[in-house]
Every structure is written in C-alpha cells, then in structure tokens.
Amino acid sequence: MFLNTTAGRAERSAAQHRYGSRLGWYLLLSLLPGAAPVITLAGPVTTGAKPETGLRYWEWNDQGVLFRLTQRLPDQTRAYLLARGFDAGSADLAATRCMFQSMFKNTRSRGAPAVSINLEDWRVHAAGTEKRKQLLTREHWKQVWTQRGVSGAAAIAFEWSLLPTRQEYAPGDYNWGMTSYGLPPGTRFDLDFSWQREGKLFRGRLDGVECPADIHPEPQ
C-alpha cells in the first residue's frame, strides 16, 4: 500500500505542526475537596505522516508521557480481523469505527513515579457536534462480540490487540494497541486524554485527529 502523494509534504510540515510549547502550559488546579488536583497541559503535539504509507500520526511527548496515534485504514483492520477468524460483517463493524494504532509510554527514567491511565475518562469530541463521547473500550467490544456470536479465539485476539482500558506504567513501560473512537471513516475529532501521577490528574489534548477514510489503495 503506497499513499506517497501526501507523505513527503506532510512529513516536511511535521515540525511546523507543533502547537503549544513546553513553556506554554497553562494549568490548573481544581481544588474540589477530596479531588485529585487537575493539571491541564497544552503540550507540544507533533503531527505528520509515515513516509512509507502516508498514514498520519499525532504524537504528544511531554511531562514524561509519550502518546502516539497512527491511522489504521479500515482495510488494514478488516484484513487483520478476518485472518483471526472474524466473519466479514463483524470485521467490517470494527474496521469502520475509527481505529488507530496507539502507543502510550512512561518516558521518565528509573526511579520516577508510575503513570496510570483509564480510557474510560478520555473523551472524543467529533467535529461539528457538541457531544463528547467515550472511546470504545475492550469491555464494549467484548459485549458486541458476545451478541454477534464471534468465536472465542477471535474475540481473545481482538481484546488483547486493544490498548488496555486501565494500566499502570512504571518508567520505561509502554503498551501498543488499537484504540477505537466509534466514528465513521473520515471524521475529524479532538481527543481529551488524561493520566495520573502521584495523585495528580494531568490532561492533554490532540486536536484535529482524522479517522482514516475507507479507501482501497492499489499498489503503485
């Protein structure tokens, strides 16, 4: 699959797509009694495209956290799920719910505190709507596959392919996994994500993330 028409341009402009700055984090503390302090960050977000595929990525790398989303074409997900025993209808259902390859890492050096995430706290804000939605987590998909009668082995493979809903990352720990945003192909959205460290809740945002279109590129 080669989508190189936009790749070079996007890659070249990657550095120009940094918005916010390390010094520019504004913040603040929600001082509700008993609540964890909330620190909202406008950290540096890098966007670009993988030169070999043209698939776009959005990356946050600040405050000891590296979080990256890379587009997955619906066809990639279809092929992956069909190879693991999904029926065509179920594979298509998942493939067209805006899947991204994701990576979350605690980048701090040894001895630093752990970072924990809970995807149920993250919110998806689709362009043109006021509504904020949750991600489609492992727990959501497990119910879907049970209802659709997807085989055990296929459902297991899918479950472990998704980023864990909850996880604690010691320094150097990381997970790769798919994340699913429940939006139609081609939709743009903002993602409010968060993590906790030492009892403090940190919030970050990826703006203008694009669900990949449902295209079927031919090899060049």
Partner: protein, 180 residues
C-alpha cells in the same frame, strides 16, 4: 579577573554535568519494576509447541522468566531476538524462561518461529485462561519469579533482555536464594 570568572566556570561546569546526566539517564537501559508485596505467581499447566506439559510449580527452586506475547504484537516480535540472546546466557545459570502465547494456534506460532527462531519453550494459552489469572493488561508483559515462586519483577512493553543490567538483575535473585 580569575575570581570573577570562577563562578561562571562553576556554573558552566554544572550545566554541562546536568546535560551529561540527562543524556545518560535517557540512555540507561530500563530495568525491571519491582512488584510490591511480591505475591505468589498463579500456577498454570500448559503445553509447549512440542506437546510437552509445563507446570509452573514444577519450576519451584529456580528463577523463572515468564513472558506473555502474541505474534501480531509488534513489541513482542521486536523483543524476541533479545529474549533468545538472554536465554542463551541464563540457561547456563539454571534460570528458566517460558513464553506464553495468548490466543493463537500452533500453526500461527510455527510460522512465526521461522522468522524468529527461539529455543526456550513457547507455551499455548489458547483460551486465555492463564493470562486472565495473571496481573496482565497488555502485551507483552514479562514477570520474573524467584525460586520461592513469588512475582518479583515486572516489565510492561518490550525490553533489551540481554542488556547486562537486566541479566544481572535476574541473576541476583538466584544468587540471593543460593546464599540462604
């Protein structure tokens, strides 16, 4: 003149040391995370690719590295060669290594090993019953179990397993047990 330059020199030297320290800290290999309370490792009985049964409790008295993985998981694939290199060092020290594949069949794993040949046992957790009983939420996750059968270290995500610091960390468990 010398007196006025001295504080500047000290400041510059301190800044250089700080930069060197930061770079060094980033390059340090990531060690294994110690598990609080060190709970007993949940026992399991699984067959490997040769059909040989492995019961974890049979390894009591030895240090065991238990890795959960799958062929479709990029960091799992990436760390396999390093695990094999580590295994070649650890096996001579009577340390066991078991890699538990989650949810895949023998044919898939067999195909995988053509590109990633390893000599340590690859066990089959086809129903995910074992991984569900362990404190694992994502792949790869690796544990180091001490000779008393306790979960001592954990690593989430891939590691350069043959890094001397990691090998040393694993062997230290054996040394500590031997001294007792």
């Amino acid at each position: 003149m010398m007196l006025t330059l001295k504080p500047l020199r000290i400041t510059l030297l301190s800044m250089c040391l700080l930069v060197v320290h930061s770079v060094y800290a980033e390059q340090q290999p990531q060690l294994l995370q110690k598990i609080p309370d060190q709970p007993p490792a949940p026992d399991f009985s699984l067959v490997d690719m040769e059909g040989v049964k492995h019961k974890l409790s049979d390894y009591r008295g030895r240090v065991v590295v238990v890795n959960f993985w799958a062929t479709w998981c990029p960091p799992c694939r990436e760390e396999m060669p390093a695990m094999e290199r580590a295994w070649q060092q650890l096996r001579t020290q009577d340390v066991a290594m078991l890699a538990i594949n989650v949810g895949e069949d023998e044919d898939t794993i067999f195909e995988f090993t053509a590109n990633y040949p390893v000599e340590f046992p690859l066990l089959l957790d086809t129903t995910s019953a074992v991984i569900s009983a362990w404190p694992v939420r994502g792949l790869p996750t690796t544990f180091v179990i001490d000779p008393a059968g306790r979960l001592v270290y954990r690593a989430i995500g891939g590691r350069e397993w043959d890094a001397p610091e990691l090998i040393q960390q694993i062997l230290a468990l054996k040394t500590a047990a031997d001294r007792r």
